[in-house]
């Protein structure tokens, strides 16, 4: 009886692990292929594509990708693109979280006359994603003279119905008595927000940060429109450009762009790993 139970347990464990391992391989193999292709000369990539051969070009490619400029003006090394991408991703995430939280705070905790209406207005902006309003948005940014600036990249996209919605749902689940206890304890609106609501929202903030950072990091269309200076390029754009610029003339610098692609993957992975542990800890600590 117990033997067959154990066998069943083992079988199901093997199946579970099999599925997980297959899934991981499926996700990680393209990256491994990419890594392999950074180690061999570009001409070889054109000839053979990915192989099992490990070459000696990695250091070269890494140096070129990170420190050598590409493009016409020669101002966009991989390092500066990485910086731009980080500014965009972090600016996006922090801005969206901050604005979403403040909007939700106002809607949930203050007796505003049109709070519900305001909320639904914010909510309907979900129906108007960037792509729908990209031309008017561009107009406005240009009119404000914010082309080729970080503000121009970040501010127009910073209002977030999603974040507002999630924070609103979360704030509504915070017990009323906590607000009242804080009021009696002499915490005004600002203190309550900073001392109580922010720490309580830690897990929400972590989750939002993951989503919004990756969203900002992966932006392609908007930065392409708003920035024309090469020193404002982000990684996602830069990769494309390296391959594009040299096309036709010589062999495209595949090795170099592959390194950049790998570099572009790392920060989002780090963000997820770091905030996920925070996220899980917050969930399992179960503060009641």
């Amino acid at each position: 009886m117990s033997l067959s139970k154990m066998r069943k347990l083992k079988l199901s464990m093997i199946v579970d692990h099999g599925v997980l391992i297959l899934g991981s391989l499926f996700m990680i193999l393209p990256l491994v292929m990419l890594l392999q292709m950074t180690t061999i000369p570009d001409t070889e990539i054109i000839k053979t594509g990915p192989t099992l051969k490990i070459g000696d070009q990695f250091d070269d490619n890494l140096y070129k990708a990170m420190f050598e400029a590409s493009g016409f003006a020669g101002e966009n090394s991989g390092l500066s693109m990485l910086k731009n991408s980080l500014i965009l991703g972090i600016g996006f995430a922090v801005g969206k979280i901050l604005i979403g939280m403040l909007a939700a705070y106002a809607i949930v905790y203050f007796r505003l006359r049109f709070a519900t209406l305001a909320f639904w207005l914010i909510f309907t902006t979900l129906l108007l994603p960037l792509e729908v309003r990209i031309l008017p948005s561009y107009e406005v940014v240009q009119w404000l003279g914010m082309l080729n600036t970080y503000q121009g990249l970040i501010i127009p996209l910073i209002a977030s119905a999603t974040a507002t919605f999630f924070f609103r749902q979360f704030f509504r689940s915070v017990p009323e008595e906590l607000v009242e206890a804080a009021r009696i304890d002499g915490a005004g609106p600002v203190k309550f927000f900073i001392d109580i609501l922010m720490p309580l929202s830690k897990t929400m903030i972590a989750a939002m940060f993951i989503i919004m950072f990756v969203y900002g990091w992966n932006q392609y269309l908007w930065p392409t429109m708003i920035t024309t200076d090469e020193d404002m390029y982000t990684l996602v754009r830069g990769i494309k450009q390296i391959v594009q610029v040299l096309e036709g003339a010589v062999v495209p610098e595949y090795g170099r762009s592959n390194v950049l692609a790998l570099v572009a993957v790392i920060p989002p992975v780090l963000v997820v790993v770091f905030f996920q542990s925070w996220f899980v800890k917050g969930l399992t600590e179960s503060d009641k």
């Binding site: 009242e180 309580l200 503060d287």
Partner: protein
């Protein structure tokens, strides 16, 4: 320490619901007043108005000598203990207790001293660095108490602070809270729907029903001289037996037996506490006992007197069996109420 004065206080919620009818009374300095009543009678509403968490629709509320209708909760010099404790989950016990002081700009060393003192008083010293989630229900309750006493307020407000605890712990905390209040001498208003809690803790009980104050008095007054049939049936477990009677020829007649003179005429309601019956072979009344409830130290006999259900409380050495039982009524034990209004005659 302060007295609390309710001057024609009323409360109508924005949706038009009248939660509190005009209410007048005064809670004396240092008194432990217990607000008791069934669910939805407006106890929390009243307490929250004192705390400043709910607007006062009309009337004046004063704490001490000051009318506080428009004073912010933080400036009323009160502390409140909530039913679900309302501890800040992300703060340690020390921070939880000290948060109110911190917001008032008390010096760090002073906060530490006061928190230590309060923690010692409540046996919380070993838990000062723990988070609320690591504490038991009783300990959390004590932290909530600590948060209240550390500020040394003029008035404590409690909203059913023990109803999330199990029966044993509830008894223990009841005694602790009462002892603490005695020691500190702080005026307190304590809301509960548990009449045992009210009886055991109160200096004075305020019995409420449907947004009205039914009676205010010491536990003994409320128990032995209920002002209305509502109070009679709400206070005491099991409640007072309420039996229809008539006043005929100046005599109260219950089941054809005379129970002394009464000034009234016509139909009345006679109230008799279960323990005011005593089994007596010579007794005037015969109860048909249907059920004997064994409670260890004593027994409850449930049965019928004529058509009316009655409960009799007897000591455990007396006989207990179903069937007819002759009982007498202790002298002066009868309370008479108006049959229509339910008010005491």
């Amino acid at each position: 320490m302060a007295q609390v004065q309710f001057n024609s206080i009323t409360k109508t919620y924005p949706n038009g619901f009248e939660a509190l009818k005009p209410t007048n009374f005064t809670i004396k300095e240092g008194e432990f007043a217990v607000l008791v009543g069934p669910s939805g009678c407006g106890k929390s509403t009243l307490l929250r108005m004192v705390a400043g968490l709910e607007d006062i629709t009309a009337g004046d509320l004063s704490i001490g000598t000051r009318v506080v209708n428009h004073v912010d909760p933080a400036d009323r010099d009160i502390a409140m203990v909530f039913q679900n404790y309302a501890l800040y989950p992300h703060m340690t016990v020390r921070k939880n207790i000290g948060y109110g002081l911190k917001n008032r700009g008390t010096a760090k060393s002073e906060i530490a001293r006061k928190v230590d003192e309060a923690a010692a008083m409540l046996n919380l010293t070993p838990y000062l660095e723990s988070k609320p989630s690591q504490l038991s229900g009783g300990q959390r309750q004590r932290v909530a108490m600590g948060r209240a006493i550390v500020r040394d307020p003029a008035l404590f407000l409690f909203d059913e602070p023990l109803s999330n605890l199990d029966a044993k712990l509830r008894n223990q905390m009841r005694i602790e809270i009462k002892a603490l209040q005695r020691r500190l001498g702080v005026t307190s208003i304590y809301v509960t729907h548990d009449q045992v809690e009210a009886m055991t803790m109160a200096d004075r009980i305020i019995v409420m029903n449907e947004g009205r104050v039914e009676q205010i008095g010491t536990p003994a007054q409320v128990y032995h001289n209920p002002a209305t049939t509502f109070v009679a049936s709400f206070m005491g477990a099991p409640p007072m037996n309420l039996l229809p009677a008539v006043v005929d020829g100046g005599q109260v007649m219950l089941e054809g037996v005379s129970f002394g003179p009464a000034p009234h005429r016509g139909k009345v309601i006679a109230g008799i506490r279960p323990e005011d019956f005593s089994p007596d072979p010579e007794g005037d009344l015969t109860i048909h006992v249907d059920l004997v409830e064994e409670l260890g130290a004593h027994r409850l006999l449930h049965g019928k007197l004529g058509e009316e259900a009655v409960t009799v409380h007897v000591a455990n050495e007396s006989v207990a069996q179903t069937g007819p039982l002759r009982v007498g009524v202790k002298p002066d034990a009868l309370c008479l109420f108006d049959a229509v209004e339910g008010n005491r005659i």
